[in-house]
Symmetry: D4
């Protein structure tokens, strides 16, 4: 949004746009009302992340309409938890869009410039079943121009797999750990790195995995201090948390 705003203001400054017209454009820019939905177009500047569409539970038409409006207003739009039919409709509406089948995410429009000097973010999984949440986190981070290091399938049943990737983890500014079942991985990672660890429980497993509840509880009880926890399968939330910690602090000083 801010980009579009600056563009309008720039055109006012260089005379290619009359102030009165500009006022109308700015006003339209901020008008998120769609009758059945009230888009939060200013959110980008408030939360380091623009409003993102949760496609699950919406009709295909509704999803396409909201993505279109956001794209039109802000020059960029992103949707998560996109069902297959909505993904097909989005792809045909926006041929230039980017889509992750594994992460069930869709984005269209220009990515921002990556912030200078920002370190990479590690996205880690215990097993292959944890990939959807991990790819959701990675997709959102990459769309927001963050650098992502994928460290997949390094669960604790075979500790040597994690050992081989430790240097990568220690070079990152934050680590997102996606794990289901016993969710032992975030505790082990939390004991090996100093940077923030965001744990995402995944709904893998069967029986007493209870759709991710066991993993969630293990993470909330992590014996490594300072491990933060997100909702089950909430890779998007983990990405948002990472963006808050990378970019959300006030300008003066480090924090």
């Amino acid at each position: 949004l801010i980009g579009r705003l600056e563009e309008i203001l720039g055109r006012v400054r260089d005379g290619s746009l009359q102030p009165a017209e500009a006022a109308g454009l700015v006003s339209a820019l901020q008008d998120g009302s769609m009758g059945f939905a009230m888009l939060d177009l200013q959110r980008g500047s408030r939360q380091t992340l623009p409003e993102v569409v949760l496609a699950q539970g919406k009709t295909v038409d509704g999803t396409v309409a909201i993505v279109s409006r956001l794209h039109e207003k802000c020059g960029f739009a992103m949707a998560t938890r996109v069902p297959d039919d909505a993904a097909r409709a989005l792809a045909s509406t926006f041929p230039g869009g980017r889509y992750s089948a594994l992460g069930r995410c869709f984005a269209v429009g220009d990515r921002m410039e990556p912030p200078e000097g920002e370190g990479p973010v590690a996205v880690v999984t215990a097993g292959t079943s944890d990939l959807p949440a991990a790819e959701e986190a990675a997709f959102v981070l990459e769309e927001m121009s963050a650098r992502v290091e994928r460290v997949f399938d390094v669960g604790v049943a075979g500790l040597h797999r994690l050992g081989g990737r430790l240097d990568t983890l220690r070079s990152c500014g934050a680590v997102v750990v996606c794990a289901g079942m016993d969710a032992a991985l975030p505790s082990v990672v939390g004991g090996l790195v100093q940077c923030p660890v965001i744990a995402v429980p995944t709904s893998t497993g069967y029986g007493t995995s209870f759709g991710g509840v066991s993993a969630l509880l293990a993470m909330l009880n992590s014996c490594s201090p300072g491990v933060c926890v997100m909702n089950i399968d909430n890779g998007f939330g983990a990405a948002a948390a990472v963006l808050r910690l990378l970019r959300g602090a006030p300008a003066r000083g480090r924090v």
Copy 2:
């Protein structure tokens, strides 16, 4: 019980006891009826473990009476989850008894001869709060003449602590792992040893540890295959399971 039975039958054979008297003694030996409780005096031969008294929920007098009867009939008696007042009463009734304050266990009478060639059993804890369950398991095992290796306070937040004890673990015939909170330790241990791993969730922690339920769920979902799980805080059950696997198989062949 079998020992006492063999003693009686031996005395019949050598003539020091008349068959009729012997019949009475054997009958008394097997008479577990106490009015309010029916002791299972034959259990020792059926399950590799004699009947053990769960003192919790019994009156002090009831506990002392049952322990006395078992001791009288079988020459050995053991009680677990012994409250403080029952422990004091047992200690004063049986000055030669053995008591673990940490494991809340009491035993009196002669231990059996340790089986020949039986390897040690590791009892492992993640933290100091897991000690009561671990000591309960160790007490029962030692009363049954098993050798116990204690490997305490080696939780995964500092993996190097476990690393230093790996040789010990790998020399054992079974490993009992007591852990609460995220209970990540049994999965890590299960990935490092080949022998049976018996996991005991402990009721440590607060909030979402839910009195050990989180640890229980993590253990049931262990990513290391073949980890067996006991009830929360059930060190006694873990010991019983170890005795089944060390001694419970039929005599012919290895198993």
Copy 3:
């Protein structure tokens, strides 16, 4: 894996393979990295069981690819919880494969030699609805060359059915008991045999069976000491636990 390793080393010794070539082969042998999955090819030697593919939650293509890689590297591969479409794809890829429709398992490649003098393992069910978990356990055990005694449909509502099979149970080195609903069977079996009892709750029943949770809780509270519990429907885990106790102890002495 070890078999393949020995074969390579044997060829080095007899001169049919150059050390440099052998080094490459061994390295390839240990290379479990597949981009989206990091296979744990050494697991066989660490845990008495090679890595087994959990097909549920994977794409058909992914399952076939991982099974193929494991088969190629280790000469043997096994998958559990195989959905129907994956089963068809595996069967057409590996015409010589072995498949259990009831246990939803698939295996391909050479079984190891059965260990000498190893006793049989009983796999017991309370009712016909418990068969899938039981057959999963039996399939895995038989693929690992263990002997299995099936004792099916002997639930406690008709105790005479169990009575007729007691001799079989008492001849076994371990008993796996699969039961749902009230899960009373493991407690009764645990009171009748001395060997290890591994209880597998099954997701049978309706209403308050809660997908196997009631059975799980009954098993965790078994009044027969030393009954070990696995995750709901986890026949595979029970087999893994049995293999740990049959074969996982260190070489010296009994244990």
Copy 4:
């Protein structure tokens, strides 16, 4: 109440009481209003059981007042779940009262005549920890002049104990089974007798016994058809259910 009513009417018939006085007495008899409680004095005739006072959660004074009122109006009063201090107060108020410390019940007044030809009721426990619920059921049944057979401590870990009491069970008109933890006993009993089986889960055990919930779930999922279940520790309810089935059917015919 009906007894008192008949006494009044009898006195009217034999002339010792004037109809007008009788009307006042009957009216007072039916007046259950106590300001803070509205006693249900007619319940005895409606439900085969008079109103019984749940002393838990009431003040000592309140309990004594309600028991006194019931006793005065109906010639009989009973209280369950009586805390120690209330028990002492009741005992000193009603020196002729009957009290069960184990069942925490108190009764005072005349018992009714036992119904002719009514068979006994078995009250069964799995272990000694189940005694409080069992004694509550037995106390209430005996106060209502039913015959009770106590069959205690016959849990399934040692099936031979139950076997020895089978003839007793089969001679009874109903069986109340009190069990905690895995609650396997009602299923086994239900498979061995044809009469009604009322299962009472007890809050024994620890950890995953969850205060009796595991036992409750096992009972609701009993593999023996027709086992009825009561609330946890609700021996009183089991007695009430037995009285309904023994005495609650309409007069004509068997039922």
Copy 5:
């Protein structure tokens, strides 16, 4: 079964069957083993109800095979929770069978003679959504030759509906009450009748009805003493409980 047994023995007595042949027939009669299932053919005499097939969770072929075997051996067979496809297969295999689409039950073969002088049983529902459980109970009762009074749609939101049927309820030997959601009906009925009340929670409603758990909990906490509770939707179990109380008591005396 007993009927068939008597027929065989009768033919022995009248000479139409040789004792040796009869022995074979009796033996076959009692042979419940089917390889994958061990039928409990004697159950009828042990529990007032023959073995009934739970069709849910079985293959169509398996259900037809077991029903056929039971029918052949006992002259009568019944299945509950029959899925649509199994119902069609049963109907085409047994053209003379009886089927309830609402109760999802199937039966074939001769019903027994109704016991003399046995009163009716009321089957009550709170709403129309409770009909499946109610019809399951009614079907089983009627197949066992009990008389059933249906009292449907009399929930407490309109108490006058229940009031109009009170005489019917009071004429019955037992009342089965099926209710979901708040399950207030059994408490109200329990306060109005003296006979046994068997409460069946149903999985109606949405949200916090939690598939019948709310109804179950309300029933277990009924303020009317002596209300017995079955598993959710377990109309079959309620019928079995009724048969126990109507017919399960020993022959001498009332009970």
Copy 6:
């Protein structure tokens, strides 16, 4: 607060107070900051109820301090869930205070004038154990000058008790129903009256009453439409809801 504000403004108007002084008084009046707590002094005008102190979980000194400040600022203060020691301290600090031991509430200061023409509110209980929540609701309502009709101990096990009070219920503007265990009463009441029904689950009972959860669930699933539900034991919340509906609607028209 508004009363005090009007008094200040009145004194400004009649000249007895200078505007500058008044400004200071008004400012002080609105200053809720106490260092560790920020009182919401304006809440009275926003929510028809002034801020009420939840004494549970506060120190005795903290409770007395906050009540004193509220009393000083607003001329009235009320506290709920007051522990015994805090009640004694409040009573000695405010000798003119009003206290309900049963409802654990304390109030001090002048009650407002009762609104003209406002009908009574019924507070109903199923049993005597529900009195604390009911008295909490009644106390708060009466302190806010509402008229309260107490209808106690009219649970559905004896419907005639409720029948006798129906006219009272139907004369009220709202009914608060406090019930535990099966919580059948609100559904019955909701079917008999047309006015708003506010249901308060109480933490009575034992076992599966789960501290009021069973009652809560039954109420949320009430078969009488439009029954509103509060938190367990939250008589205060019920009173607040009643005040919203009696007095919270905008001034114009009925609503």
Copy 7:
């Protein structure tokens, strides 16, 4: 119904209908018995809302039959939670019916006259996923001739959206707030308005939203006093509660 009754009585008065005929009509009018369902035709006068059909869980034919009967008897009928196939059948049976696809509601027949001077009711949602419950509430209210103000998509993540609609909320006689996930909106609204707030948790979200349970719990624990809570997704119940408070109080005085 009352309308139809008055019409009949009016025709009697004006002589167009004979009393005997009228008696038959009135009797038929009140005859809700349909064999499998007993309609509560008088409910309209008892509860401010006529009986409404819960179509979910009924067959299409059953739903159409009951709606037809209600329409025929009362001149108006309404159904909620109408599945798609039932909606199509209703629309073709009643071409003049009114249908909300979003709210899954159907109504046919004449609406009553709107009560004079009744203020509007606000129906508020936090997000677009809450629309089904909100539209169910709005549909029922509008069918009952209430005025509805829709205030949609004003969740607390962007408080400015709510701020812009505050005047609307404050002009209403009651506010229904539909929210899922964290359900923070009712607490914020409850702090900003004085009128009754009815909170409806919705089953939106994933993972730990647990189908609306998280939202339900947040609402029951609202820090704004007097927020009333309905079952999950129960927009119908919220409308019924609003109708009770708008119209259910006795005629004399305000309440």
Copy 8:
């Protein structure tokens, strides 16, 4: 620890310490073994936080011994969840220690130098009952030399209270929000600030607050993206998470 290590190495460099002596000192420095506990003395350098003692569940003597050892080895020691008796023992052992009665924390030894240019951290509470968790977080942060801004008692029932502190929140590098019951505050704060938000559910409230579970669930479902969640009452964990994000990133670049 690193400070002590540098001091030793500095003394080696300046010649005041012999290398051999230094080796012994360093070795002792790293020796965490205490027999019953294995201290993780290196944790400070691995996780930005030294090992902190969880005093709850330890004996008073054990707590004092571990704190003493840590203090001796590292020059600093801290304990959380300190019971009253342990607090008294620590205070008398370490007269110079720092203690927070509200936060139940104790620390002794030299604090590190505050990092240059590090912004403040806001610790926010919804109500006064949330203070213990908040003070635990603040104590740990301040002991680690972070700057803390306390923003207390600003729950959403009165939004104006939060509004007045918004500038403070927006000047901080991270916000820790402690809230119980409906836990609406983190969602509102998360919508108003861009920096990381760490949510700590507190075990305040009663009934359905379920000891903080309701608050936890609301936080996990926050409609403001990127809110991280800790275990219930885990202020310590929140502080640790803040330290990870303030100080845990690798040295090069911003992250």
